[in-house]
C-alpha cells in the first residue's frame, strides 16, 4: 500500500514538472495568442474589450504582403542553410578529422562571428556590397546571413567528423567504389543525421535574422521578421502577434523534430562531441 502511494506521488510529481516546463515554454506566447484574436484592447482591462478575427483573416486575405514575405523568408533561409552546409562540410571535415598546425587559431577564427556581433561586421560589409551591387538584393542578404550561421554549422559538422572513422571510406574504396561513389554511398549516409541538425540550426538562425536583413536588404528584401517589425512600429499589435505566432512555427517544428532525432540512440547527438 505504501509502495503504491509513493508511486502515485512520484507520477504526480513528474506530471507536475512536465506541466511546469510546458507552462514556462508556452506562457510567454499567451499574450500573443490573445492579442491575435483581439479587435480592441485598451489599457486597464485585463482582456480585450472586443474580440475579432481581423488579424487571422489578414493572413488569408489575397494580396497581403504576408504570403510573399513567408516565401521570401523560406527561400532565403533554405538557401542559407544549404550554402552553410556546402561550406561547412569541407571545413568541418578538416577540423574534425585532421590535426594540423594552427588548428586552435582556425577554430577560434571560425567561432569568432558567433562572439562578435555580426552587425558590427555587417556595417563594413554593407559598403562593399553596395560597391558590388549586392546591397538590397536577395543574394546579398543570403551572403550576410552566412556570418551568424557558419560558426554553428562548422562546429556541429566538425563534431560529427571527429567521431567519424575514415577507414570506412578506405574499406569502400578497396571494394570498388571510386571517390565520388564513396562520397555518395558512404560519407553522406554516415554523416546525414549531423548534416540535418546543422542545416536546421542554420535555418533557425537565418529565419530569425532581422538587423542583418534590414541593413543589407535595405527594406527591399521583405522577410517575415522585417514585416513583423513594421507592424510593431506602426503599433498594430494584433497583426504583429499573428505574425510572431507564424514566425515561431518553423522553430517549434524544428525543435520538436530535432529533439526527437537527438534522443534517438547513437545518432546526431554524437555530433556535439569535442572537436
Amino acid at each position: 500500500m505504501d509502495i503504491r502511494q509513493s508511486e502515485k506521488r512520484r507520477r504526480f510529481l513528474t506530471l507536475g514538472l512536465v506541466c511546469l516546463v510546458l507552462a514556462a515554454l508556452l506562457l510567454p506566447f499567451l499574450p500573443q495568442v490573445i492579442w491575435s484574436f483581439s479587435h480592441r484592447w485598451l489599457f486597464p482591462s485585463l482582456l480585450p474589450t472586443e474580440w475579432g478575427l481581423r488579424g487571422w483573416s489578414y493572413v488569408f486575405s489575397p494580396g497581403a504582403r504576408l504570403g510573399r514575405a513567408i516565401i521570401t523568408s523560406l527561400t532565403i533561409s533554405a538557401t542559407v542553410s544549404l550554402l552553410s552546409i556546402l561550406v561547412g562540410l569541407p571545413a568541418g571535415r578538416a577540423l574534425g578529422l585532421y590535426r594540423f598546425r594552427g588548428k586552435t587559431l582556425v577554430q577560434f577564427l571560425i567561432l569568432s562571428p558567433a562572439i562578435v556581433p555580426a552587425f558590427a561586421a555587417a556595417m563594413g560589409i554593407h559598403i562593399q556590397f553596395i560597391r558590388y551591387g549586392l546591397a538590397d538584393t536577395f543574394f546579398g542578404v543570403v551572403l550576410v546571413q552566412l556570418i551568424p550561421t557558419l560558426p554553428y554549422v562548422v562546429l556541429i559538422l566538425g563534431g560529427v567528423f571527429s567521431s567519424y572513422r575514415i577507414e570506412v571510406e578506405e574499406e569502400a574504396r578497396t571494394l570498388g567504389a571510386n571517390q565520388l561513389k564513396v562520397l555518395w554511398y558512404v560519407t553522406l549516409p554516415s554523416i546525414l543525421p549531423g548534416v540535418i541538425v546543422a542545416g536546421l540550426f542554420a535555418f533557425m538562425i537565418s529565419w530569425g535574422q532581422y538587423l542583418l536583413t534590414l541593413l543589407i536588404g535595405g527594406g527591399q528584401v521583405l522577410t517575415l521578421p522585417i514585416l513583423l517589425l513594421n507592424f510593431v512600429n506602426s503599433g498594430d499589435y494584433t497583426l504583429a502577434s499573428v505574425l510572431s505566432l507564424i514566425l515561431i512555427i518553423p522553430s517549434g517544428t524544428i525543435l520538436w523534430y530535432t529533439s526527437r532525432y537527438l534522443t534517438r540512440e547513437g545518432t546526431a547527438l554524437g555530433g556535439f562531441g569535442k572537436l
Binding site: R165, E167, V168, E170, E171, A172, R173, T174, L175, G176, A177, N178, K181, Y185, V186, P189, S190, L192, G266
Partner: protein, 353 residues
C-alpha cells in the same frame, strides 16, 4: 590467382616516421602469407600500400608482373578488411555484403542471390536484415569477410582478423578463413602480431620489425633456422650465450662449444638455442657441448617441465617433457647438452630487438 611482388618498397609518413623501409617481398599466388611483427612495425601500412590506399614514397608494387602504382584502389581488386571490422553502420548486413557488387553495377537479382549464398558460407544465413549493431563481434567479423569475398577479389588483405575475438571464436574464425581460402584459392595476405597465429594459418610468413623485413619463409624455417638474433628471439629462442668464434669452435664462459653450420666470420658472437632444444643428461661421457648448470627453478607445467638454469655467463630456460617425473631441487647441479645442429651463432654486433 594473383601473385604480388613488392620491390624495394618504402613508405615515409614524414621525415622521421618510416613505416615501411626498402621492403622486397614475393607473395605467392593462391597462398596465405602472414605479415608478422610487433605493434607499430608498419603492418597496416603495408596492406594499405598493396591496396592502393596510400602511395609509396619509393619502390614498386606488381600484381602478376604489372605495376599497380598508377592504378587507383577501387580498380586494383585488392580488398582490405580492417582491424576493427568496419561494417557500414547505416546499411543492413545484407546491404553491407552487397556493397562491392552494387558498386560494380551488377543486377539486383544476381546480387541478392550471391549475398544469400555468401552469407551461408560464413554461417550468417538469415542475418541479412539485421543491422550491424545487432551482430556480435565474431558475426561482424564474418560479415566483413563475406563483404570482401563476394567481390571475388584478386587479393584479400586481412588486418588482424582475429585480434578482436576471444579464444574459442578465434579458433573458429581461423578455420573459416583457412577453409574459405583453400576453397576459393584467393591470394591472401593477413597481418598479425601473434606468431602462433601466423604459424598456424600461413603458408608463408614475412617477419617485419620497424618496417624492415627480417625473414621470409615457411613457418617451420623460423623455428629451424631464424635469420637473425631478433627473429630467433621473437619466435621464443630466448637463450643467449655470448661467445667468441674461433674458426669452428666457439668459446663461451661455460666452455668451448661446437656448432654445425658456421658461416659467420670469426669474432664476437651470440649463441642462441631454443628452450626445448636443450637436453638434460646424466653423465658427460666423451661428448662435446655438455655444460654444467645449477637449477634456479623448476616448474611442473602439466605435460612439460620448465626450468631456469644458471650456467657460467648466462641464465638458460629449458623446457622438457615432464616424463622424467623428477622435478629438480633448487641449487642442484645439472648437466646440459646443447646439440651442435640446434645452436645458432649470430654476430654480436647485430642488435637485438
Amino acid at each position: 590467382m594473383t601473385q604480388v611482388t613488392l620491390r624495394d618498397l618504402t613508405k615515409k609518413y614524414s621525415s622521421q616516421v618510416k613505416a615501411v623501409d626498402h621492403l622486397s617481398l614475393e607473395i605467392p599466388a593462391g597462398k596465405i602469407t602472414a605479415i608478422l611483427g610487433p605493434s607499430g612495425c608498419g603492418k597496416t601500412t603495408l596492406l594499405k600500400l598493396i591496396a592502393g590506399l596510400v602511395p609509396p614514397t619509393s619502390g614498386d608494387i606488381f600484381f602478376d608482373g604489372i605495376s599497380q602504382l598508377d592504378i587507383p584502389a577501387e580498380k586494383r581488386g585488392a580488398v582490405m578488411v580492417f582491424q576493427n571490422h568496419l561494417l557500414f553502420p547505416f546499411l543492413s548486413v545484407g546491404d553491407n555484403v552487397a556493397f562491392g557488387l552494387k558498386m560494380r553495377g551488377e543486377p539486383p537479382q544476381l546480387i541478392r542471390e550471391q549475398v544469400l549464398q555468401i552469407l551461408e558460407l560464413v554461417q550468417l544465413a538469415g542475418y541479412e536484415k539485421r543491422q550491424p549493431s545487432q551482430l556480435s563481434g565474431g558475426q561482424q567479423q564474418r560479415a566483413a569477410l563475406a563483404r570482401a569475398l563476394i567481390t571475388q577479389p584478386r587479393i584479400l588483405l586481412l588486418d588482424e582478423p582475429l585480434s578482436n575475438l576471444d579464444a574459442n571464436l578465434r579458433e573458429e574464425m581461423r578455420e573459416l578463413i583457412f577453409n574459405l581460402q583453400r576453397q576459393q584459392g584467393i591470394t591472401t595476405v593477413f597481418v598479425t602480431h601473434d606468431q602462433e597465429e601466423a604459424v598456424m594459418l600461413a603458408d608463408q610468413i614475412a617477419l617485419v620489425f620497424e618496417g624492415v623485413l627480417q625473414q621470409v619463409g615457411e613457418p617451420r624455417a623460423f623455428y629451424e633456422r631464424p635469420a637473425n638474433l631478433a627473429t630467433a628471439r621473437f619466435f621464443g629462442a630466448n637463450n643467449i650465450l655470448p661467445g667468441f668464434d674461433r674458426e669452428g669452435r666457439i668459446d663461451t664462459a661455460s666452455g668451448s662449444l661446437q656448432i654445425e653450420e658456421n658461416q659467420i666470420p670469426p669474432g664476437p658472437v651470440n649463441l642462441v638455442i631454443r628452450p626445448e632444444n636443450i637436453r638434460i643428461v646424466t653423465e658427460k661421457g666423451d661428448r662435446n657441448n655438455i655444460i654444467v648448470g645449477r637449477v634456479r627453478s623448476c616448474i611442473f607445467a602439466g605435460t612439460r617441465t620448465r626450468m631456469k638454469i644458471t650456467v657460467e655467463g648466462a641464465l638458460l630456460e629449458v623446457v622438457t617433457d615432464a616424463s622424467p617425473l623428477r622435478c629438480y631441487q633448487e641449487g642442484e647441479t645439472i648437466l646440459l647438452f646443447l646439440p651442435p645442429a640446434k645452436l645458432w651463432a649470430y654476430p654480436a654486433k647485430e642488435s637485438s630487438v
